[in-house]
Symmetry: C2
Subunit: 421 residues, 2 copies
């Protein structure tokens, strides 16, 4: 890099200043205009599908020559269906209720001052993501709908696909009379640009990393900007002594095996020592194709159970593997979860309402469930329309984060000339 070259910091400052300008224009735009921009963007995605597929084919060629893993290749790969699904997702975000301007609460003070808190945009959001090019569409849609400007920084392996999808989104935005700079794509895949973005507290109000553990860890380590991070989902399903056996089997198999690679998948099954149907539960998991790792009591239930090592209780397998342990009732489950959970999603299965409420109250996780599959941990399933991520942090937003999590509020005070004594 020499004097004639733009530094990463200069690049991010330029993008940031444009985003700031765009955010100011978005603040003056109506909600209908933002929704219209998204409908037009969805249409542009559909119309430009051939160009997007051609760009994706170039990325896939590069990825193959670079020896990307089959899992990453699958994430990178686009086809007509996936583009159509991305466009549908953008349409769905357009159809959500306006998250801005709603009144959170009001008060009238004894001195006559009228207070209200109303929802306003967060400002400028930075998204740092890997592999899946559809994030370019859905993250942009969510940010725009909440009135934010967004700076997208996708992975180098998807750069052609991201550019093509970004161009379609901008087409729709401009057609609706909104500024192109509302959605910007960092025009380089230089890693130093990520570092500059993470430190740009003057320009960026929130960073959302979407990707694997190493990406999230790097972002959390380097960022000087607030981060909405999603860490592990070491989720538990606890089968209480008062569980219905058929329901317990159905829920545990679904929670573990429906899709093993999602963050809402159950990784540890805890079973009450007094539950009579534990062996059948272990058997049905193994029969469903799941490797069961258990303590000595669980190993005694089925010859196919493998011994669990200490680290198994703290492992997010994201695979067809589950650790199974016996605990002393709901209090034993609560204690085990407190020691081992990542506080993402934890469930109890029981017919006893009192026991269930004890669990729901005592387990300190973003999502706690009673008689439901942990795989429901998802913004769409929660009716949020779409999610920018599932936060395992405790500040600002917890669990599935959608439009509301991309807003903040301001206090409005209306007086009649009051001075403070």
């Amino acid at each position: 890099m020499n004097d004639l070259t733009q530094t990463p910091e200069m690049l991010i400052a330029q993008l940031g200043a444009r985003a700031r300008g765009a955010a100011a224009l978005l603040a003056g735009a109506s909600d209908a205009q933002k929704a219209d921009a998204l409908c037009r963007a969805a249409q542009a995605l559909r119309e430009r599908a051939p160009a997007i597929l051609a760009a994706n084919a170039r990325d896939m060629d590069n990825a193959l020559s670079n020896g990307l893993s089959p899992a990453l290749l699958d994430r990178l790969k686009l086809n007509e269906d996936r583009i159509s699904a991305a466009a549908d997702g953008v349409d769905q975000v357009a159809a959500l209720a306006n998250p801005l301007g709603s009144v959170i609460d009001t008060a009238v003070r004894p001195n006559g001052l009228k207070l209200s808190r109303i929802r306003v945009p967060l400002g400028i959001v930075g998204i740092i993501y890997e592999s899946r090019p559809n994030v370019t569409a859905d993250a942009a849609a969510l940010c725009l709908r909440a009135g934010n400007a967004v700076i997208l920084r996708g992975g180098s392996e998807a750069k052609e696909s991201n550019r093509a999808i970004h161009a379609a989104m901008v087409d729709g935005i401009v057609a609706a009379g909104l500024p192109a700079e509302a959605v910007q794509l960092v025009p380089t895949t230089d890693r130093a640009a990520v570092g500059a973005l993470l430190k740009a507290s003057e320009f960026v109000d929130l960073i959302v990393p979407r990707g694997g553990k190493s990406l999230v860890a790097r972002v959390q380590e380097e960022a000087r900007v607030p981060v909405l991070a999603h860490l592990d989902g070491i989720n538990h399903s606890y089968v209480d002594g008062a569980a219905d056996p058929a329901m317990a089997q159905a829920l545990v198999v679904n929670a573990k095996m429906r899709r093993t690679g999602v963050c809402g998948a159950t990784e540890t099954v805890l079973i009450d020592r007094s539950y009579a149907h534990a062996p059948a539960l272990v058997q049905v998991l193994i029969d469903a194709g799941c490797e069961v790792r258990g303590d000595t009591d669980v190993q005694a239930m089925d010859a196919r159970v493998k011994p669990a090592a200490d680290e198994d209780w703290d492992t997010e397998y994201l695979d067809a593997i589950v650790s199974v342990g016996l605990v002393g009732g709901v209090d034993g489950a609560i204690a085990h979860i407190a020691a081992h959970a990542s506080h993402h999603t934890d469930a109890i299965i029981t017919e006893d309402a009192e026991t269930a409420e004890r669990f729901l109250n005592a387990v300190d996780s973003a999502i706690v469930m009673w008689n439901a599959s942990t795989q429901f941990a998802d913004g769409g399933e929660f009716g949020l329309g779409a999610e920018i991520g599932i936060s395992t942090g405790r500040l600002h937003a917890r669990g599935p984060v959608a439009l509301e999590g991309l807003t903040t509020y301001k206090w409005i005070v209306r007086g009649q000339g009051q001075t403070r004594p």
Copy 2:
């Protein structure tokens, strides 16, 4: 430091583990028990006033020999009235409504899953503060009332006073049957302990710095834990052409001069070029003892006006100084504020409701006011009972932060055996 000495990291880990245990016990305590603990703590503060005053006298002696400034000495100094006020503050926090367990929203999904979001404690809060020993009482009270364990790290100049106040708070907490470790004071004033606390993301959920700019800047620079920071209050009062002259004079003088050292003080007065009473407004400010720095138009109004330099428009004086500028109506004011404000508190003075709403909508500050003094920017004035600070950040909590800002939420999902398709 040698092998036999506890490192700052070990010390913070020890405090953090105790806080974690205390937070778990607080989760099982009733709201009445927490309120009772605070009432008992307030009583203990009153009863132990002689010991607290003796401790404070030792701090004052040290401070005098160390040549502390008169302003810092005044902040450090305790007397009967200040201890009584601190105890009253703790009683007031005890009297606030329970911030925990309230339902933020609920939904029933088409598949029958019942969702609710409820307020729960944030967890463990670290408070880093300077000089004023009463923070030991009020921060502890707010954190405890919201179900959090707190780790307090006061300034070295107040260490004896802080210890004495902390001992009284713990007395009350223990008398109510709650764990002493719910409120811990870092037992060393070694600066390395602050560094360790700022990086203890395993143990601390939120850091709140309370002090001067250099403290807040250090905390923001070093922290790996989320920070609720209060930066500058470069606040504006804009006098519109349609302002009532008597109201404008009363508001501007109050907003600037009531107390010049508080973060809600107005630092810049903007006046509409079309406002006929600008010279009288400038005169009344100067007559009230305020130095006015103005642009050339303002200098022409009164011989006592000093020229404003560029940096004056970006300065938080915290003193009897104000910058005064003429702008082109409400849009000129909005543009000036967007360029120079710290987004803390900004006010418009006008009789025109439409102009006022335009300002309230367009100015992106934590607090926006119409016909009210910016000095009302205060948690107590907003009816929040007490505040842990005024956040100038956009994440989690904005403006005055009180009990609600010390909570988070969890999602509770109640099912009837639903599996995810």
